[in-house]
């Protein structure tokens, strides 16, 4: 499965990553190599095998709908890049 430059740019866009021109070439080569490697999954017929998402296939447990977390906004915002009046600041979205 050989990826094209456009494939790599599209994947990067989906992943919210910016790539320079030289990186597009580099990732095209490396990702193609990885995809070629995982092709060996096709050596076995799995048509009638159920996918396994998780090692535990039990029901997820339920818990009582009560408050277990309390407001720690000041503590959490102390490590934020930018805040003001208890809000997280990001670049302007609407002019």
């Amino acid at each position: 499965m050989a990826l094209t430059n456009d494939d790599v740019l599209y994947i990067a866009k989906l992943a919210n990553l910016q790539l320079g021109d030289s990186q597009v070439y580099q990732y095209k080569r490396e990702l193609t190599r990885i995809l070629d490697f995982v092709e060996q999954m096709n050596s076995v017929n799995v048509d009638h095998v159920e996918p396994m998402a998780h090692p535990q296939e039990m029901m997820q447990p339920l818990r009582a709908d009560v408050i277990t977390e309390f407001n720690q906004r000041a503590k959490f915002q102390a490590i934020a890049p930018a805040t003001q009046d208890g809000l997280y600041l990001v670049p302007k979205v609407i002019e």
Partner: protein
């Protein structure tokens, strides 16, 4: 003092032959003297550790065996008020606002935290070279890697810079560095130990566990770490057995399977010889060794390198520069802030895995990659289930080679991925696995992996403990760090 095992130190502390403060200061001095050449710690918490040690000494009547024992934490366990970087520029400025559940449990037991250990960025790697804080060096030969991703935790124990450490294992990240550094490391059953507060890489595979000199030391740590946690719904609500008491039970009559697929083509003949010797020890203890088959074992790496990146691409989407972690300078707009913060702060391997995972989950490729990998995961899990109908444990080398040179495999991601061939299937199935040292090859440690059925950590801990009663490989210390 650093030549004692954790269990021996605990006895000496309880008998007041040594104090936790003495022991802690001793390790801090050793870190200062030696870690410059090993780079196993990202953060050393000297003052805080001495404070914790003094408290442990003042409060001796309380009975946890681990009280006053100084350990190191892989730098992906959140510890309240402490830098927790995950080896990444993305979290270089991140101070965890809470304790991981295992950290909280260990603190309650009176454990002293010496510091946070170096690792592959976001736990993605097998060599501990991809850290933002530089490569970790193997104490047996500092031109070589310690394995990864929990390389710093393995090195800290191997060089006796900590009594024990915690690591995490998604595809072999406790067992492979334990093998390459000559220590004992246990990956518990998926769900045995809470993942709350462990920075996520691949959530259906990640599991935290102990790394120490002996299997007995690992049993003491697991005893405190294991158990259900309301904050992690995948942590299983099953009673925690008495792992330590169980170590002395006989292993006579235990059936141990050797997967023929792991011993066919291309296994290093010296590693095969070490395994042979280890088998002879187990046979002398009354174990029965027999061949078994894991027919789909060789597909494990391929399936893993779809599933783990897929989960990682989702988990790591949280790093957006908005609420914590790295934010790029002067973003043009919101999109630019997201994508430039991520591009500037993630390293190469992390970006590769995010992109592979994104691709495998994207429209048109989901069935061909992600669903197919999950089907192979089922086959691998079934292979192990069939094996455990016949045997109590599965034995193999932990890694196909001893420690390789720094930069030897960093140019080709796929070559690096192959170093986890024996460990990855265990994560896909969710089983417990352990690595024990079984000797040196040209001065570098070789490890043996033991795998048991779900929640049967007692079986592999007991086998490893009984093996260690007959051997001294685990007590060898690299000459420069004695």
């Amino acid at each position: 003092m650093h030549k004692l095992t954790l269990a021996q130190q605990a006895k000496a502390l309880a008998a007041k032959q040594i104090s936790s403060e003495e022991l802690t200061r001793h390790y801090i001095d050793r870190i200062e003297a030696h870690d410059g050449q090993l780079n196993s710690f990202i953060t050393v918490l000297a003052e805080q550790a001495i404070e914790q040690a003094k408290q442990a000494d003042a409060d001796r009547h309380q009975t946890s065996v681990l009280k006053g024992i100084p350990i190191a934490l892989k730098d992906l366990f959140c510890s309240d008020g402490t830098a927790t970087t995950c080896g990444s520029k993305m979290l270089d400025n991140f101070v965890a606002p809470y304790d991981a559940t295992v950290v909280k449990k260990l603190k309650q037991a009176g454990v002293v935290t010496l510091g946070k250990t170096n690792m592959d960025e976001f736990a993605m790697g097998s060599s501990s070279e991809s850290s933002f804080y530089g490569a970790v060096k193997n104490p047996w030969d500092t031109s070589r890697v310690p394995g990864g991703s929990s390389g710093g935790s393995a090195v800290a124990v191997a060089a006796r810079l900590a009594s024990a450490s915690l690591g995490t294992d998604t595809g072999g990240s406790i067992r492979q560095p334990a093998a390459l550094c000559g220590i004992t490391g246990l990956k518990p059953t998926y769900g045995r130990v809470s993942r709350y507060g462990m920075i996520a890489y691949a959530s259906s595979l990640d599991q935290g566990g102990p790394m120490a000199v002996t299997a007995e030391d690992c049993a003491y740590l697991l005893q405190t770490m294991a158990g259900h946690d309301d904050k992690d719904s995948t942590s299983v609500d099953l009673p925690v057995p008495d792992y330590v008491a169980d170590l002395e039970q006989t292993v006579k009559g235990m059936r141990i399977g050797m997967p023929k697929e792991f011993f066919e083509q291309g296994l290093d003949s010296e590693i095969a010889a070490h395994i042979q010797h280890a088998c002879e020890v187990l046979t002398s203890l009354g174990c029965e060794i027999k061949p078994i088959s894991l027919p789909n074992a060789e597909l494990a790496i391929a399936a893993y390198y779809v599933i783990a990146p897929a989960e990682a691409s989702s988990n790591l989407s949280r790093y957006d520069g908005a609420r914590y972690g790295y934010r790029c300078q002067n973003p043009r707009d919101l999109e630019d802030m997201y994508s430039r913060s991520r591009s500037e702060a993630f390293g190469e391997e992390v970006k590769r895995r995010i992109m592979i995972g994104t691709y495998a989950l994207s429209a048109g490729y989901y069935d061909a990659y992600y669903i197919k990998a999950q089907k192979i995961r089922r086959l691998i899990s079934q292979d192990y289930s069939q094996a455990f109908a016949e045997v109590d444990a599965v034995l193999s080398p932990t890694a196909p080679t001893t420690a390789f040179k720094i930069n030897e495999k960093s140019d080709d991601p796929v070559t690096m991925y192959l170093s986890d061939i024996f460990t990855i299937g265990v994560n896909l199935a969710g089983l417990p696995g352990l690595s024990v040292p079984i000797g040196l090859q040209s001065g570098l440690p070789v490890g043996m992996q033991l795998v048991s059925n779900y929640f049967k950590e007692d079986v592999i801990l007991r086998l490893a403990h009984q093996y260690q009663q007959q051997t001294s490989h685990h007590l060898q210390i690299p000459a420069s760090f004695e």
